[in-house]
Structures are given as C-alpha cells and as structure tokens.
C-alpha cells in the first residue's frame, strides 16, 4: 500500500477508536434527528380523535371515531384528552377552545352531509398549488438550518483535528522519523484524506439520522423533490470546504509545537469560518438577497453559504457552477501554499514560526 494511504488509514483508525469520536457522532445524530423530529412533537397532530353521542360519524379524512353512550362520558373523555371533539346532536363539545382547523373541517363535513342528505351532489373545489406549499417552504428552511449547523460543526472540528495531528507529530518529533521514509506531501495528504474520511463518516451518520427521523415523523412528504440532489450537493461542498480549511489548518498548525497553542494558531481559520457561518445564517432568511448571492460565489465562504442557499431555495445552475469552479481553484491554491508552509515549518521546533520567515527562506 502506498505511504499516503497507510497514513490515511492510521488516521481513520486512530480517530474512530477514540471516545470523542463516538460522543461527537452521537451528539450530532441526536441533535439532527431531534431537530427533524421536533415539528412532529410540537406541531399540530396529523389526525384527529373524534367522538359522537347519538349521531353518526362525519366524512373526515384520517379521523378516528369513538361512540359515547352519553354526554357525561364524552365530557370525561374530552377532559382526559382522549378525544379532540365530540359531536352531540347539533352541538360540538370540546375541551376549551376548539382548534380552528378542526372547527372548519367539522363545519364543512357537516354541510356536505346535509347537502348529500337533501339529495344534491356538489363538486368540491380542488386546490392546485402553483408555488410550494407553506408546509414545504417551512420544511425546506428547516432543512437549510440543519445544513448550516452540521456544516459549521464539521468544517470547524475536522480541520481542527488535522492541526492537532500536525502539532502532535511536530511536538513529539515523530516527523523526524517519518520524513526519513515518507515525503512531507504524503504525510500531509494522508492526514487530510484520512481525517476527511472521518468527517464524511460523521456527515453520513447525520444525513442518515435526518432522513430516518424525517421518514418516521412523516416530514419526508414535505421535503423538496430535489432532496437527493441537495444532499449530494452538501457532501460535495463539504469535501471542497473541508479540503480548503484542512490545508489552512495544517499550515497554521505546523507553525507551533504545543497543543495549547493550536487554538491560537488557528484563529485566522476560525474567524473565516465564523464569518461564513454568519452570512450563511443570513442567507437562510433571505437566500435571494444580493449579499447572499455574492458571498455564495466567494471562496472560501461559498463552501458554507452555497449549500445553505441551495437547501433553502432554488439557485440558478450557473451560480452553482461559478461558485464551484472558484472554490476548486481556491482549494488548489491553498493546498499548494499550505503544503509549502507545512513542509518548511514542521521541522522547526521551539518558538512559534512566523509565516513570513517560512515563505522567505527557500
């Protein structure tokens, strides 16, 4: 096996075995699964439990009917919350205010029943939507929100692992031994590849959790039709964004020799990501705004903002293409520059290395 793949495999095994990996994955799965399932818990019910006293049931879709002997037992069932409303003759009994949607349903079903009884038939109006339904719109925003959150967490934490790995090898001088048998680009490339795979495992777990929760809660019906495309897009943007920030993190990390200094050294990277996150949040509310459109073309911010825009609304194909090409070029540039800095700085232990010094010396 080639040295780069050996390095990548070591990284994957080392990470996947840690408790932090298991906990991190569990937290994200719960968070995303929960966020997807939450509307079901807090939103209105999809079906009603209805009762009758001495009358026959009405034609209402998805309603479950119970027959009560008298108003007293119906009242008890209402108070216990076993039933949403009970029709008793010309009255509708409810516990407190009747849900307006249910009220409308009952009135219209009642009207239809009486019209039918009178021997007339009516053709109900058929609603045909020319835009996305409010539910679908809502769901799509929710989806985009989850995408922002997940990309933010993964794009900040995975490159952080790259930097920590670089510093581990530099600080302990393992690089001295490694470089006698692998090239710097093999070590760096293997590390970025391996930890990227770990990031993808996380992402896959989160996507699976989201889809399972969406299906279980019935939310999946409201998901936009191009969902597979959106998910595939998120994965591609993640790979590009991750590679960009991982190369940056490796370069910045290679400047210091101790784990305590990593956070500080990575400050320029975290700032970039937080800015991208801020814009992405804004784009969530107004995906078609000029700011969102411009920033979603600008690397490296585009790595986070563009997938959020595509999740939140439909984006013209040319915008996606331009954004992708620009980001790809930026990734190539930062990988070359980052590898150069890394290679020169990682053997200079001791005090923090200044980027200027590294780039000057040949």
């Amino acid at each position: 096996m080639n040295a780069l793949l050996l390095v990548a495999r070591r990284e994957i095994v080392a990470q996947v075995r840690t408790r932090a990996f298991a906990i991190g994955l569990a937290v994200m799965v719960l968070l995303v699964g929960g966020a997807t399932f939450a509307p079901k818990l807090f939103g209105g019910p999809d079906s009603y439990a209805l009762g009758t006293v001495g009358t026959s049931a009405l034609q209402i879709q998805d309603a479950k009917w119970t027959t009560y002997r008298d108003e007293a037992s119906a009242t008890k069932a209402l108070k216990d919350g076993d039933v949403d409303a009970v029709i008793a003759g010309k009255k509708v009994l409810s516990n407190g205010e009747l849900d307006p949607k249910l009220d409308a349903l009952l009135q219209s079903a009642n009207a239809q029943a009486q019209i039918k009884a009178a021997g007339l038939t009516i053709t109900p109006l058929n609603v045909v939507s020319v835009g996305p339904g409010a539910d679908a719109e809502h769901t799509r925003r929710g989806l985009a929100f989850i995408v922002v959150l997940v990309l933010f967490m993964l794009i900040i934490s995975t490159p952080m692992m790259v930097a920590m790995g670089v510093v581990e090898e530099k600080g302990s001088r393992i690089v001295e031994i490694l470089f006698t048998t692998v090239r710097p680009w093999q070590l760096l490339g293997g590390k970025i590849l391996g930890l990227g795979a770990v990031g993808l495992i996380n992402l896959a777990g989160v996507i699976a959790a989201g889809l399972v929760a969406a299906t279980a809660s019935g939310l999946a019906a409201d998901l936009p039709p191009g969902l597979a495309g959106i998910v595939a897009g998120v994965v591609v943007w993640f790979i590009l964004g991750y590679t960009f920030f991982a190369a940056l993190a490796a370069a910045l990390g290679s400047l210091v020799s101790r784990q305590e200094e990593v956070g500080n050294a990575l400050a320029p990277m975290t700032t970039l990501i937080v800015v991208a996150y801020g814009v992405a949040f804004y784009a969530l509310g107004d995906p078609g705004s000029t700011v969102a459109r411009v920033v979603s073309l600008l690397p490296p911010f585009s790595a986070i903002v563009m997938p959020v825009r595509t999740a939140a609304a439909d984006v013209a194909l040319w915008e996606v293409a331009v954004s992708g090409v620009l980001l790809l070029a930026a990734v190539a540039g930062i990988v070359l520059l980052g590898a150069r800095i890394y290679e020169r700085a990682v053997l200079r232990t001791g005090a923090r290395v200044r980027i200027g010094d590294v780039l000057k010396s040949s």
Partner: protein, 258 residues
C-alpha cells in the same frame, strides 16, 4: 590481486561480497545556525563496524546525524552511501533513533512498530513478522497491546528502538541510544547493535559513556566544536597507551585552548 581489493579486504574480510563498499561517509559537512556549528565534519563508517561518535554537549553530534538522516540540509559538504551521494530512496533503508524520542503516544506498541515497518515498504506479513520478533527480543511481548503512553520511559525507549530496527535497516544511525537505560538494558542493546553489525550493517551511535564506547565500538570519532579532533579504530587510539577518556579530555581541552 590489485592493491585496492586487498585494501578493502582488510576491513571486511568477514562480509559477504554483496555488501562490499556499503560504507557510510560524511564529507566536509558544514552547518551554521547563525554561528558555525559543524566545521567540516568527515567520518567514515565501514560495513559491519560499530562506530562511536563521541563529544561534549553541543559539539555537533546530533546536527551531524540529522544531516545524515536528511532532517537538516547541510550548508556545505555531503553524505555518501556506497560511494554515491545519499538520496531519499537509499535513506529509506536506514534506521534512525533520534535524540528526542518521538512516538504516537496513543497508539499500541505492536501496531506502532508494524506501522513504521509498512511505511518503510514491508508487506503486512513481513511487518507483522518483524514486529513479533522484535517485541520478543526486546522484552515487550507482554506490553505489545498497550498504548505507548502506558509504558515506562525505559520501555518507550525499547519501542523507539524497535521502530528503528523493524525494516531490517541497511545502516543504523542512533543518537544517544543508551541514555536513560539501566545496566541490563544497556547490555541487551549493545548485543543487538553488535548483532546487526555482524550482519554487515554500518552502525553509528553517539554517546557520552566512554567506557561503554570503548567496550562496544570498533572505531571512534571524537568531535569538539564541530570538528573531528581524533578518530580511528579503538586499538589505534589506544596504541599510545592512553584511555579513551584521556584522549577525549585532551581533545576537548585542546579545542577549548584555541
């Protein structure tokens, strides 16, 4: 028989023919960190020879070895192996124990040794076999599945040595391999080095422990202030009736007097 062949025969009469000329040399190495640290260091380690590299703290031993291993680039001079300038591909066959030990603390002992074997180009089977043998030989068998951080420093040092030996190196470069070892471990390591040398490998190690060097080495190079001030086989150096310690002290003083 031509004179050159006879000459080589003196050094390596006990070696198989294939290793003839497997000599490690440094030629006039120069390095400066603001001020000169190596000032024309030339050494030659013959195949099958254990070479002791001796000098006071800061004399330039580590810098020389790091240049040999490609961790540093010299300002002048070169490293030669088998008569050719040493390149990356050839250096991959070397084994190196750096002065500042470095291992993956959270990786298990056997996995770590195997990993380095693989990086040096061994097949999975060969790496596993070599790891098994080394773990046995270095008394780490019971610790093979523990993480490195759980080991005592002495045992970590053994793992470090195993990492340097796993690919059956063509040359051994060991920077202060005996520091921090108890007397039993010193003897065991000395035996391992002699054994590798008997296999035709040039072995160079740095040390402060002069009686150890005298006991273990075929040749010695004494470095002071970045210059080789004395060198030769142990027998040659002792021919004047002085101990290595006396020679060393005199060489160091001579340098200081300058």
């Amino acid at each position: 028989m031509s004179p050159e062949v006879a000459d080589i025969g003196v050094y390596c009469c006990h070696l198989p023919l294939g290793t003839l000329g497997g000599m490690l040399e440094t030629v006039e190495l120069r390095k400066s960190f603001g001020r000169p640290v190596l000032d024309g260091v030339s050494l030659a380690v013959r195949p099958g020879e254990v070479f002791g590299f001796v000098g006071a703290n800061g004399a330039g031993k580590t810098t020389t070895m790091r240049i040999v291993m490609g961790v540093l680039t010299p300002d002048g001079g070169e490293v030669r192996w088998q008569g050719e300038p040493l390149d990356f591909a050839a250096r991959r066959t070397f084994g190196y124990l750096p002065e500042e030990r470095g291992l993956y603390q959270k990786m298990r002992v056997a996995e770590q040794i195997t990993y380095f074997g693989r990086l040096h180009g061994l097949t999975p089977q060969a790496a596993a076999r070599a790891t098994g043998a080394l773990v046995e030989r270095l008394g780490l068998a019971e610790r093979a599945n523990e993480t490195v951080q759980a080991l005592s420093l002495g045992n970590q040092q053994r793992v470090q040595l195993a990492v340097a030996l796993v690919h059956d190196p063509a040359v051994l470069v060991l920077d202060e391999p005996f520091s921090g070892l108890d007397p039993l471990a010193v003897d065991a390591l000395g035996e391992v080095l002699r054994e590798r040398a008997r296999g035709g490998v040039p072995v160079i190690f740095s040390s402060h422990q002069l009686e150890l060097v005298e006991r273990l080495c075929d040749s010695v190079g004494i470095i002071a202030n970045g210059r080789i001030v004395a060198g030769g086989t142990v027998d040659e150096l002792r021919a004047g009736g002085r101990t290595l310690t006396e020679i060393f002290r005199q060489a160091a003083m001579g340098e200081a007097a300058k």
